[in-house]
């Protein structure tokens, strides 16, 4: 026994003729149905190419419109010719003119020869089908579809809605249970003959004429009536995009297709000359050639669909620009923003970098420059440390920084005098972690205040400004819409258990690396701070963000006595 091919063709007839000849020359009878809308000249040229082959028939009876009965009718016509003219055919393989056999014909013949009673047809009940585009599954069988979906989409949808509203339902014939599946099948002679010669075929055909996309249900349903053994899968590899259109295969898919071990693939781009040359040969190529294994191709296409629909998280580029309020994560990877720690501890960045192995930047949003780790002027991806360039689009600056360093966690310092314009972006980014020791900005001011040449009026003005800015920043970060993780301590709260809080921060910014802090960073000298804050108060300002002044004083003095705070002198 051999296998016969029914080929449905409507375009790139040159390629179809190549495939038909290849199959026929290897003792596979071929019946081609050429769409009647193909010009007579093209049909003539096609028939001419196959003229010398005795086991090829070319018919042209239907104008095949997508989604309609004409495709099933063309298949039935061609299958009838196949059964009538070629008694040696044990299996009939339905393919299109843009299909390409991937394995030598003999391999397919052997495979089917070992499974003489098996019908290979994807056939799934409407409840279990997961791939219908547009949500029509059982309704394909119970509604009417008199208008073309491709040409009059709006009218089609309206008519479907109308039928749903009035509760219209067609009666499904008793004899069948609707099943759906890929259009492309390989049926045994017996099953196909039973379908074609059924006594009630006129009635069945009349019903299916008005079913939506019957080429995905006619044979899939009827095979269930007659088959001895169904393997519910297609031997044809075919993939669809998000719009339900078939993907094309190109020359660069050669290895992928070869390794898939599938028998036939669809659709092949007509220009893919290397594929036609490679596969229309008797060379088995490499590979074990066992069961078809399209898993790798499935994953590749699933990934492509995800990239098309969702895109890469945190990437903003010419062909991906989601509205900021419509994305979940605004940047590509988790990062940490620390406020106040860099003024509380000496060489905090160096210490943290050594401890966590992360890249620890200085104040990226500082007024003088973007203080990249290591003092670089141009950072990954060509990011400049120019504050003007950065502030031209701070969101893009941060999104770029995180994107450019994928795979390596970024940590940077922030201060109330920095560009606050970035904070709404950070606050609404679930990738962001922010730890704030509020009131810490007073520490450097207090140190300046003890200098003999200190300008207290200027320092007081500066303090008032920073307090205002920090209040604004904390407001932004604690909005109900905020998605960033925020840790906030007043300076006093932090100092009360400095080591524990620092441990918490380290644990949270480098999860999975449980490290006990044995080597604490050096805390700066806080002795001038209470006096400075008191002086601010005396000048009429109310420093609130650092915490209670009395507690602070007790902590700084008591801390020294009890040795809880190691203070750098």
């Amino acid at each position: 026994m051999t296998v016969g091919f029914v080929l449905l063709c409507h375009q790139s007839l040159g390629r179809a003729a190549q495939v038909a000849a290849h199959l026929a020359e290897r003792d596979c009878p071929v019946v081609v149905h050429v769409d009647t809308r193909v010009s007579a000249a093209d049909r003539g040229a096609f028939a001419e190419k196959l003229k010398g082959l005795a086991n090829v028939r070319v018919i042209s009876r239907q104008a095949c419109e997508w989604g309609t009965w004409s495709i099933v009718q063309a298949t039935l016509d061609a299958a009838g010719v196949m059964l009538r003219d070629f008694p040696g055919v044990g299996h009939v393989f339905l393919a299109s003119g843009s299909c390409l056999p991937l394995r030598p014909v003999q391999a397919l013949r052997d495979y089917l020869g070992q499974r003489p009673d098996t019908d290979f047809i994807e056939s799934v009940t409407t409840e279990d089908v997961g791939w219908t585009v547009g949500g029509l599954d059982i309704e394909r069988f119970t509604l009417r579809f008199p208008v073309s979906w491709r040409k009059h989409r709006r009218l089609f949808d309206t008519y479907v809605r109308l039928q749903r509203r009035v509760g219209f339902r067609r009666r499904i014939p008793q004899a069948i249970t609707p099943h759906l599946g890929s259009q492309w099948w390989c049926l045994t002679r017996d099953t196909l003959a039973a379908i074609l010669e059924a006594d009630d075929r006129p009635e069945i055909d009349r019903y299916f004429r008005r079913v939506w996309i019957p080429d995905e249900s006619y044979f899939q349903t009827l095979a269930r009536r007659y088959a001895r053994r169904i393997e519910s899968r297609s031997l044809t590899l075919s993939k669809f995009d998000v719009h339900g259109r078939p993907h094309l295969f190109y020359d660069d898919h050669l290895q992928l297709l070869r390794r898939s071990d599938c028998f036939v693939a669809r659709k092949i781009w007509p220009g893919a000359g290397a594929l036609y040359t490679a596969f229309l040969s008797d060379d088995p190529g490499q590979g074990a050639h066992g069961e078809p294994n399209p898993g790798k191709i499935d994953r590749l296409f699933a990934k492509a669909t995800e990239r098309r629909v969702k895109g890469r998280t945190g990437l903003y580029m010419q062909s991906r620009f989601p509205r900021p309020d419509r994305v979940n994560a605004r940047t590509a990877a988790p990062y940490a923003v620390l406020q106040g720690l860099d003024v509380l501890f000496a060489d905090f960045e160096g210490w943290l970098s050594r401890l966590t192995g992360s890249r620890v930047h200085g104040r990226l949003f500082g007024a003088e420059r973007a203080a990249f780790a290591g003092g670089e002027q141009v950072f990954n991806g060509g990011l400049s440390d120019s504050p003007i360039l950065r502030d031209y689009n701070p969101q893009a600056f941060l999104a770029n920084l995180i994107w450019n360093t994928r795979g390596e966690r970024q940590i940077f310092q922030f201060a109330p005098q920095d560009n606050l314009a970035i904070l709404p972006f950070v606050a609404t980014d679930p990738q962001a972690y922010m730890a704030v020791v509020s009131g810490a900005w007073a520490i450097p001011l207090a140190m300046q205040a003890v200098r003999p040449d200190a300008d207290f009026v200027a320092l007081r003005r500066e303090a008032a400004l920073l307090q205002r800015q920090e209040t604004e920043a904390l407001d932004l970060l604690s909005q109900p819409t905020s998605k960033a993780r925020l840790r906030h301590w007043s300076l006093v709260e932090f100092l009360e258990r400095a080591q524990d809080h620092l441990q918490l921060v380290v644990d949270e910014i480098s999860p999975g690396t449980a490290r006990r802090l044995t080597d604490m960073p050096q805390m700066v000298d806080l002795t001038p701070l209470p006096q400075f804050l008191q002086a601010l108060r005396n000048e009429g300002m109310q420093p609130v963000l650092a915490g209670d002044l009395g507690d602070l004083e007790a902590l700084i003095q008591g801390g020294e006595k009890r040795g809880r705070l190691r203070v750098a002198k």
């Binding site: 719009h243 094309l248 296409f301 492509a304 990239r307 062909s319 120019s386 003007i388 994107w403």
Partner: protein
Amino acid sequence: MAGDPASIDRLDILVFCTLRNEIARLPGFLAHHRALGVRRFLIVDNASTDGSADFLADQGDVILWRAEASYRLARFGMDWINHLLARYGQGHWCLTLDADERLVYPYWQTRPLSALTEWLESQGREAFGAMMLDLYPKGPLSAGGGLEWFDAGNYVIQRKPGLNCLWLQGGPRARAFFADKPRQAPTLTKIPLVRWHWRYAYHNATHSLLPPRLNAVYDKGELTSGLLLHDKFRPLVLDKSAEEKFRRAHFGRPEDFDPYYDSLIADPELWHPHSTRLTGSWRQLEALGLMSRGGWV
């Protein structure tokens, strides 16, 4: 005029270009796009004095017009291009380029442009975005090193609501020449490949089109996009900058560009330790997020 527009086949992909004194770049420009499957080049030569016009007239696939009016008068050559597009572009996929731009896109080494345009049509798309990617050498420009370096991740994007388009800026020129006035940095948005209809027009160079729906070459996922490799920073850019500054050919306010030309004439080095080197594989550019295959597998 040389070449016959009547020789254009209905299915040909066409390149449209205006140029002046590009003899050094033209062979590479033509060869690259021929290899992609471009069948006809419709070129306006704007009074070249370096033999560009004679060279072009000898090419079998170039249809050449010679123009003497100043570049500025014809709004940066766009009026000529829009005119040619309206006259000859109808129904064709048209690729509008400068002579220092080379189109690349996902799979470009293995799939010709017609594969791309068929894919775009299957997705219902009429226009294809390809950001301009400035290439530069290592070392000062005058040293003439290979143009194989670029900035991988310093591009900034704003939405322009009226035109429905994205405004892309950044790259080495913004970094090196416009660090104190980034708003004036060159626009890198490009929509060079369009299935033309006589009702369409380029609005602002090839940065944006009318009607505005054509500018929607992006969405919330990823659409398929390419890049125009910008082969500008060769040593001859130094001479050309001096000439262009003198000719003041830029539309808008030409004097805005004087500091830019001055920086270029000063022979800067654009390379830095974080520059990325072109590997030649489109996958590199896609992985960096500069272009995307979208749903095209």
